[in-house]
């Protein structure tokens, strides 16, 4: 009894009464994979922080339930080639009741750009005048090209025309931070529940590190009509997929992801299985540095024709919701009027062993080799990457007689080797930062730091510049179509698959939004269907 008493009293604040859906209290419980590293929006980079911030903060604009951009703190806005103007609503409030003003955005952006902040995503702000110079330390933060003629108007001078500037603003880096509060936290901003000021639909009322969080409805939020839940509990933080499934079965959490091996069981339980493509594309990247065999076009073409991505997705990894890759531009990207993929369908590569061998012969002559080269494939150390790299190894061996050495590395070391150019091929992936094809389109620009194989083509650079600088949507989308064609024709990269997630949700939950850009999953507009109507 003593032990019991000790145990229950010493660990206060723990959620002990957990229920996936609590109709009486109008709350739900969810699981997050990992703890948000910190919730300072000027420095947040990871998906979990983005998800949490999406529930407790609100930017100028947000992605609506219909997937279109809608006003949030901004009531209306206008983007021209030189400026962007946002008119803020007067009833937008912080969780202490004070109004959200244009100054809060200016302070936040200046903070993100200050060199001392060390923000990794500061580059997203570089569209704003003088932003890059501030980040380099050559100009003071006050030189940023933003001004507030009055508390409810934010005027942004642009460094260059950015047709999709408003779409970028859904990223956490653009969220407001109020100066007086930020300074009062003395460097601990965003480290704890009470070290944050909220202007979103919910506020964090409890945050036990590594353990649990509670989001409660923010009474000062302006748009109460759209918010239905009183609280969202996060009683568990764990990356273990099986544990997540167990919590769902035990009715402790409202949603869980499913692994391939759980599908049969899920169907037996009669769950409604849902799928969501998370927007990320995975591909084989080549090294174009001097002296690398993979710099040879014919060798890349041989590999392109030797690998059957359909086989990899459907027969090897067999992961539910995955789709074989056909282009660097994933299927969900919007073009001028409809999907980019419908407007500019990519040429489908049909695997062809004999053609592949012919290309290899040419490549070997060009490279002066008497035998097929040995290639180093850099890969992550997770089970999926392992299976995929072994599949690549096997396929290239049987079809082309190319020996592949797999270099399996932990995440940080894989990145270090990619940056250093210590590979021939690497299994890589890319997820979008904003809702415009350019978020993928400029990846192979000669000046892009993420172009880790250092692909360098004048033709491609020109196309990318067109896509970046032109304002006419039709011209831009044509440029993206041309970029796509260039990447396929030159086998610059080999798209492997678009990642999907398979999941189940408690059937009483309505209006849960899964999305590619912005907080995912978005529980903020969820309501509980009691079925009593």
């Amino acid at each position: 009894m003593l032990v019991l008493h000790y145990a229950s009293s010493s660990l206060t604040g723990a959620v002990t009464d957990v229920s996936a859906v609590d109709v009486e209290r109008n709350s739900i419980s969810i699981l997050i994979r990992e703890e948000p590293p910190q919730l300072d929006s000027s420095r947040a980079t990871d998906a979990v922080s983005g998800m949490v911030l999406g529930h407790v903060m609100e930017g100028l604009v947000r992605m609506g339930l219909d997937g279109r951009l809608e006003g949030a703190v901004a009531e209306d806005w206008e983007v021209t080639p030189t400026t962007a103007t946002f008119w803020l609503r007067e009833d937008a409030k912080w969780s202490d009741g004070q109004a959200v003003t244009a100054a809060d955005f200016i302070f936040s952006w200046q903070t993100a750009l200050k060199p001392e902040t060390g923000s990794e995503y500061a580059f997203l702000l570089f569209a704003v005048k003088n932003a890059e110079a501030i980040n380099n330390g050559t100009l003071p933060p006050s030189a940023l090209g933003v001004s507030a003629p009055n508390p409810n108007t934010l005027v942004i001078e642009l460094e260059r025309p950015v047709p999709f500037f408003d779409k970028m603003l859904v990223f956490p880096t653009f969220l407001p931070i109020r100066e007086d509060f930020f300074l009062a936290t003395e460097g601990r901003f965003g480290a704890d529940a009470d070290q944050l000021l909220y202007n979103g639909p919910f506020q964090i009322t409890r945050w036990v590190h590594g353990s649990s969080m509670t989001f409660e409805r923010n009474p000062h939020f302006w748009n109460q009509d759209e918010i239905h839940l009183d609280a969202i509990h996060v009683p568990y933080i764990t990356s273990d997929a099986t544990a997540s499934l167990n919590f769902f079965k035990d009715s402790k959490i409202a949603m869980t992801g499913l692994q391939a091996e759980n599908l049969t069981e899920a169907m037996r339980m009669g769950w409604q299985i849902r799928q969501h493509r998370d927007g990320t594309v995975f591909y084989i990247d080549f090294n174009y540095r001097d002296g690398r065999a993979t710099d040879n076009l014919n060798l890349r073409r041989a590999i392109q024709l030797a690998l059957d991505m359909d086989e990899m997705v459907y027969k090897v990894t067999k992961l539910p919701g995955y789709e074989p890759g056909v282009s660097l531009f994933p299927g969900w990207l919007m073009g001028e009027k409809t999907l980019l993929r419908q407007e500019y369908p990519p040429t489908k590569i049909i695997p062809n062993a004999s053609a592949a061998k012919a290309y290899l012969q040419t490549a070997m002559q060009e490279l002066g080799l008497s035998e097929p080269p040995t290639l180093v494939l850099l890969s992550g150390d997770n089970p999926i990457s392992s299976v995929q790299s072994e599949w690549v190894q096997q396929s290239l061996k049987t079809t082309l007689g190319i020996a592949v050495k797999i270099d399996k590395q932990i995440f940080k070391q894989r990145l270090a080797k990619m940056t250093a150019g210590d590979f021939d091929m690497v299994l890589a992936g890319w997820g979008p930062d904003y809702n415009d094809p350019l978020t993928f389109g400029d990846l192979y620009a000669s000046w892009n730091k993420n172009n880790r194989g250092e692909y360098n083509s004048q033709e491609l650079d020109t196309l990318i510049e067109t896509a970046q600088n032109q304002l006419e949507p039709a011209v831009r989308m044509r440029a993206f179509g041309d970029i796509q064609q260039h990447l396929i024709d030159n086998a610059v990269l080999l798209p492997m698959y678009e990642r999907g997630v398979t999941y189940v949700v408690d059937p009483r939950i309505k209006q849960l939004k899964r999305r590619v850009i912005g907080p995912d999953p978005d529980w903020s507009r969820v309501y509980i269907d009691t079925g009593s109507e």
């Binding site: 002990t16 995503y121 590190h209 079965k249």
Partner: protein, 311 residues
Amino acid sequence: MLKYFAKRIVLGLVTIWFIASATFFGMHAVPGDPLAGDKAMTAQIRANLEAKYGLDQPLGTQYLIYLGNIAQGDFGISFTQENRRVNDIIREHFPISATLGILAIVFAGLGGVLWGALTALYRNRWPDVVIMFLVILGISVPSFVVAAISQWSLVGLNLATGTAVLPIGGWGTVWHMLVPALVLGLSTMAYLTRLMRSSMLEVVSTDYIRTAKAKGLPATQIFSRHQLRNAILPVVTVLGPAIAGITTGGFVVEIVFAIPGLGRYFVQAIQQLDYTVIMGTTVFYGAFLVFMVILVDLVYGFIDPRVRVEK
């Protein structure tokens, strides 16, 4: 006696310094870039980050700064959880690991002594065979399998009874701890059982037991006074390091049962090359282990009078 422990403590400090230095240089020798993220950084942003964490200094300077800070008990700020001090991470999460670990040790210690004594008493009869079979299982089945199976069984139990018999994860009450502590203590329990068994068997055939029997002491008294007390010595010896091992080695159990212990931070820090957290947790655990070993020596003196005689 006092002099002996003073010597032990000095040696302990040297050990901790050695652990800190080995970890520091080992960590920096591990390939990989602690600042690397999914998206490439501009040279300027990278330089900004390096300056922030002092990585722009030469390694020797960094080492001296680290040592100085550690001597003052300051482990710095985490690389991945940018606004949290490593001291806070240890302070908040170690008590959870420790609580779980102590409970696991209680299970392991009681179970090990009980089962070990039992198998020795029923040597080569069916209780011995059954228990030793389970012991082999306990030692050889990895904890992530045991953890997953026990959680899965709990879900089944809750579904079958229609009530929440026991929580299947999370942290809060003593009910949350029972199953994870059992899982965590299982392999130690199995190990201690074996140790206790062989030690009991060894004691049974000693002269003083024969003498006790010859004196006509009752069997229960021989068992409790002579046999158990002598046989338990090796168990106490391994218990010290085992306590440190268990309170620190709960990574898998913590992940499966969603327990916010320090074990997770310890392991994840290494995967993410979070230098300050690696240093902080390793030095802290190292110090803890050294302390436990000294403590065991102290306790040993009380159980075995011979240790006290030797200076």
